[in-house]
Every structure is written in structure tokens, then in C-alpha cells.
Symmetry: C2
């Protein structure tokens, strides 16, 4: 193997792949490696995997001798990052060593034969959908924060994908996430076909990597579901994610069908007020007391032996006054992913879930469970 | 106590004090607090201490009722940081609570009586020196990185201050630091008197806080040494540091009096090359092999099972070729605090210390001990 490649292109590829290789296992494991495959067509293909999540990518290179090798992804990234020149020359040496040269710098990285690298099974599905990268960014931003980080209720560790029909009959991709204390869904139109196999629960880690890779991407992204895996295809790379073998809860049951009170507040004002009351809401549930009466929402928090804080937010309330508690951080995260000037809070009784909405858009919905006030 | 103060001034004061209060002890300890004293002269005085290091400062305020209270420095900093208004009103309530108001925000912080706050003894010294803040920044930058972080050789945990006479007869303040593997000294002219008491070994933490506070300060700084403490005075605050009760080693003994080889290299080129070879110099001593021959300095490093790297740096060498090892990180840190275009490396034999200098300035000197190559 022998190829010359632009330093910046190689650096971008290795930065992308760094989120996909295993970091917890001992250095030297093949799962810490990136597989490099230089082929005669003038492409360097790169692959990184932790066996559940795989990135396949390609970048143009001047390939003199085709070949492949797997080298530690972290060391190669640090090496390329440190180089000052515009191009990098990579040559396979004896004993599976990769020589990396640029200017007066010469590195030799210990590698493993490309054949040692784990093979990701191809997707058993040809049908796919297309969605704008920009819309997918919004949908993921509005849902991923609600996925449980590492729950023993296995079905909560991913986001659920499904197709719904919009009011005007268009096909929408809806992504739903919950950690048991809050729930979000967000949707956007797509073309093509969402052909779900046995499951449609996509793991959190994979979706975070998808979100990272589509940041700023123009144009469409392709998504396909197989029996055990889903793939997301961008112009120059493909993310392969093994699906979670668990059931997502029947989330429609959780959604309140009616409300007794509706409050409308300015989003930025509530967000700022929450930031301040959270300073003294330091218990595990970050409890903030919400008192809704007349035209004022009063937020209070208290930490014994430290202090307390109080904020007043102007509000339009329809319904009876009520006082109830919420995890202030959860509401803050919802407000952070809404783009609207005002938000609606739809409330039932003291222990009923709160629904948070953009008053002008039905593209997303957020449910936050209340906390008991002592 | 009742005063109105600019939010930005109070925030700056609390940010400064945050480096001086104890963070390791449990919240609620008086050592986590900042003492606020509002007096009739229109000043808010603030004090933070961990009992070895104290900051006294003052900031203008509109004082309606003089008084004092000690409140948790971290909570107060977060509170003031979160406020959006231009001014903040602070009022002492019953039961040692401090009310902090701004706009529609209202905080009440639990405090302790000002009388509970530990008293720092005043300095038993009236003589002092004056040095430009800019020069003191350079002197501290060129020495602090060499202080041992937490050594059981207690005398290495601080920097030694002494007076030396420059070639033209001027009085210079010299600061010296070593961790046993490297040594730096740096000096600058001063006026007034350096009247050292019993000791002149200033703890690392205090000097880092001094460095932080004088960053960007124009004009002079005053320094005075007492029997057990030293103070550094700025325009609007004073740092009081308890001195280390230990002896600094006789550092002049370590300085090589002659050299057999002298190499001159471009500082930035060596710095870049070191950055790259350090990727594979991951043992505890960050060993890099330096081979000096003819007009090239060749740097190499190697990590078993990972890889190796080689860099060539153009060099002017006077003396015989030699190959020896150094901690690459130590040399990198020295190069980072030198401002010159070229640097001189003065070498003896394989296991003799290396002296690093700016060829055009005698204001600072760096010694790095070699490491054995396997």
C-alpha cells in the first residue's frame, strides 16, 4: 500500500472515525483501529467500528500501490493532526507497519493486517427514505436529550422511529424518545419508504454520531432499516447502527388527551428565570416549585443550609391557579430546543404530566412529568 | 448591611476570590465563604482565604447600611453570574441571610456572622519593593512550571525569591524553581527593598493566583516579605501568602559551570518537532532521543506495540557529536516560555544537565536533566 493524500482530508476522515472506535478497551485491540483500504480507483476507504456502530467513509487519494492495514485510530489521528505539511504519504512497510511521512517528519505506526478487522454484515434491505439533513438535525436535537443515558429498562436506551401521516396527508418521519420522566417526539417530511424490519429502536450513541456527522450538511440524507440494523447514508460516508433488541413503550398512552390549564409564557424569559432558580435546586430531581396564579408564574427553589431563590415570569393563564413541582433542568432542556418566541404549558392536576409546545407548530411535542414537592 | 453595587464589579471581585477559598472541604465551612464588609466610606471589602492564602480586595458600592456577613463564595458567584441587570442590591436579613436582588430575581443566601471569619495576621514588615506587573508576569511564567506540584521534598513546593545584582549594578529580583529534574530562574529589575525575613520560599498555589490576578495589569506591583508571610499588593487588592517553612536547595551547585558542546536551533522549529515526537514518547519520563551530529539534530521516540517517530531539525553545533535522552515535555515547556527566535542548548556529556538559553538575553536560565536511554 502506498498513497499520497491531502493532510486536511485525512484529518477530517480520522476525526469522523474517532467517535466510532472503541475507547474503553485496551490499546492494541483491533476495535481501537481504523481500517484503511487504498484501492486502484483513487480512493482511500476508511472504517471504524465498536461492533455495534460502524462508520464507512471514503476520501480521494493518489494511490500508487493498493493495499490495506488497520492501525490505532487515536495514534494516527494525533500523528496527522501534528503534521504541518499539505500532503501526507502513507506506505505499508514490512511487519504490518505504516510509514507516515510529511516534510521532515517520519512516523511508523504498528498495525494489524486488514483481514483481522471485524466485518460488519451488509444491510438486508434495499428500500430507504430521504430526508433533508437540516430537518433531521432538528428532529434529533428535539429528541436525543430525552433518551435514557444507560437505563436497565433496555427499551429506553434508544429513540423510536415511525411513520405518521401529517394533517395534509404527507408522510412524516417521527422520532420518539423517553427516559420515563419525560418524553419528546419530533417529526419532519420524507420521501421514499420507511420500511421498518422487526425493530425500529436506534441506540443513543449511534444517533449522537449521526447528529455530529450531519451538522452543517446541505442536501438530503438517506435512511434504511434492515432486520437488525439501520444505516444512514451521507454523500461520502455511511453509518451502520445495530438496532436495540428491545421494545419501546407504547408512548401514546402517556400523552395526556386533555388539559385543565394552559399557560403561555415568553420562552427566553422563562429560560433565564429557570437558569437562576436552578442554582439552589440541587437535589437529584432539580425540583423547582411552579406557582401559576393570575398573570404571574412564580418559580422558587430552596437548598437547606445554602439558600433559596425566587423568580417571577409574566404569564397568560387560562384555568384555575395551581402550584406544582417540576425538574427544572428537564424544562430548561425543552426550552433550549424550541425555536419559538412563546411556549405553551398545558397542565392537568398537581401530579399530571405537563405538555410543552410551540404555539405555532405541531412538529414537536414535549411531556415532562411533575415531581412531588415536600 | 444594605448596599447597591454594579453587577460587573461584584462579579469580577467574586471571580477573583474564587481561587482563594477552600474547595475541598464540605460546603458550609467558613473557608468556603467570602467575607463581605460594607463600610460607610462607600466601599465593599471582600476577603477569601484557605488559611494559607488570602485575598483582600475592595470595590466601590453605594452603602446604605454598613455591616458584614460571610456567605458561600461559590453560590454567590453563581448567583451574581446568572443575573442580567446592571446593578445588584444586597441586604442583610434576620438569621444571617443575605438577600440579593436584581430585576425580578430574588435570592436569599444562608450566611455566617462576619466575626466567625478567620483573621489573617497583618504583615510584620514595612519595607517593600516595586516591580512592573508585566516583568513579574514574565518572571513567573518562566519559573512556575518548574515548581514541583506536590513533592514530599517540601522545599521544592514553592519558588525561591532572592536579590541579585545585574552586570550594570542594578538590583534584580530573581525567582528560582526546581522539581529536582529541571530548574529555571528568571529575573527583572526592581526599585525599593527586598527585605527577606527568615524564609523566602513562596508556595506554588499562591504564585499561580498572583499570576492570574496580574494578567494584563499595567503599572507596578508591590511585594513585601515578613517573617512568615509575603504580600503582593495591586491597586485594588492584596494577596497574603504564608511562606513555606522549608529550605530551598542550594541551586547554584546544580548549575553547570562549563559545557563541551553548544547547539543553536530555531526555537519554533524545535518546538514543532518536539510536539510530533512526543506522540510516541508516552513513558513516564516522556523520553526523546536527541542525536546531535554535523548540522542536524535528530529527535526520535518509540512506543512498543504502537509506533515510532523521527524528526530532523537544522542545527549549528560547536563540539563533538553526541546522542542523549531528555524528557521532551520538559524541553517543550522551556521553549514555550522563551520569546527568542533561536535558542542555545549547552551540553556536557551523556548524563550531564543541559542548559537552555535565549542567545540574546541573560534574564532567564533553564536547566534540564537528561534521562537514560534504554
Amino acid at each position: 500500500m502506498d498513497f499520497i493524500i491531502s493532510r486536511d482530508s485525512l484529518l477530517q476522515a480520522l476525526t469522523r472515525v474517532s467517535g466510532f472506535v472503541e475507547k474503553k478497551v485496551q490499546s492494541g485491540s483491533i476495535l481501537c483501529s481504523v481500517l484503511l483500504q487504498a484501492d486502484a480507483s483513487g480512493m482511500l476507504r476508511y472504517t471504524g467500528t465498536d461492533k455495534t456502530l460502524t462508520l464507512f467513509g471514503q476520501v480521494p487519494a493518489t494511490v500508487k500501490v493498493p493495499g490495506d492495514i488497520a492501525v490505532d485510530a487515536g495514534y494516527l489521528l494525533n500523528t496527522v493532526k501534528s503534521l504541518g505539511g499539505e500532503t501526507v504519504t502513507c506506505t505499508l512497510m514490512d511487519q504490518q507497519r505504516l510509514e507516515v511521512r510529511s516534510g521532515s517528519s517520519n512516523f511508523r505506526l504498528v498495525g494489524q493486517a486488514g483481514g483481522e478487522f471485524p466485518v460488519t454484515p451488509p444491510l438486508d434491505q434495499s428500500r430507504s427514505l430521504r430526508i433533508s439533513a437540516e430537518a433531521l438535525c432538528r428532529v434529533l436535537d428535539q429528541t436525543l436529550f430525552s433518551v435514557a443515558p444507560d437505563d436497565n429498562r433496555y427499551g429506553l436506551n434508544g429513540a423510536h422511529f415511525e411513520e405518521v401521516t401529517g394533517p395534509d396527508g404527507t408522510s412524516l418521519l417521527r422520532v420518539v424518545a423517553t427516559d420515563g420522566n419525560r418524553l419528546s417526539w419530533s417529526q419532519a417530511p420524507f420521501t421514499g419508504e420507511l420500511a421498518i424490519g422487526r425493530k425500529s429502536l436506534v441506540p443513543r450513541k449511534g444517533l449522537f454520531e449521526v447528529r455530529r456527522l450531519i451538522d452543517g450538511v446541505k442536501g438530503d440524507v438517506e435512511i434504511a432499516f434492515g432486520e437488525r440494523a439501520a444505516v444512514v447514508r451521507l454523500e461520502d460516508c455511511t453509518i451502520h447502527m445495530r438496532l436495540l433488541e428491545a421494545d419501546f413503550p407504547d408512548y401514546r398512552q402517556v400523552l395526556p388527551s386533555a388539559f385543565k390549564r394552559r399557560a403561555s409564557v415568553e420562552r427566553a424569559v422563562l429560560q433565564e428565570a429557570l437558569k437562576r432558580v436552578l442554582i439552589f435546586a440541587t437535589d437529584t430531581s432539580r425540583s423547582v416549585k411552579f406557582a401559576l396564579a393570575d398573570d404571574t408564574l412564580t418559580l422558587t427553589s430552596r437548598k437547606l443550609d445554602a439558600g433559596e431563590s425566587k423568580e417571577e415570569v409574566p404569564m397568560d393563564l387560562h384555568g384555575e391557579p395551581i402550584t406544582m413541582g417540576f425538574n427544572g433542568r428537564f424544562l430548561q432542556e425543552v426550552l433550549g430546543v424550541l425555536g419559538s418566541t412563546r411556549v405553551l404549558l398545558e397542565l392537568g392536576d398537581t401530579l399530571s404530566p405537563c405538555l410543552v409546545k410551540d404555539p405555532d407548530s405541531g412538529d414537536a411535542l414535549f411531556v415532562v412529568m411533575p415531581v412531588r414537592l415536600d
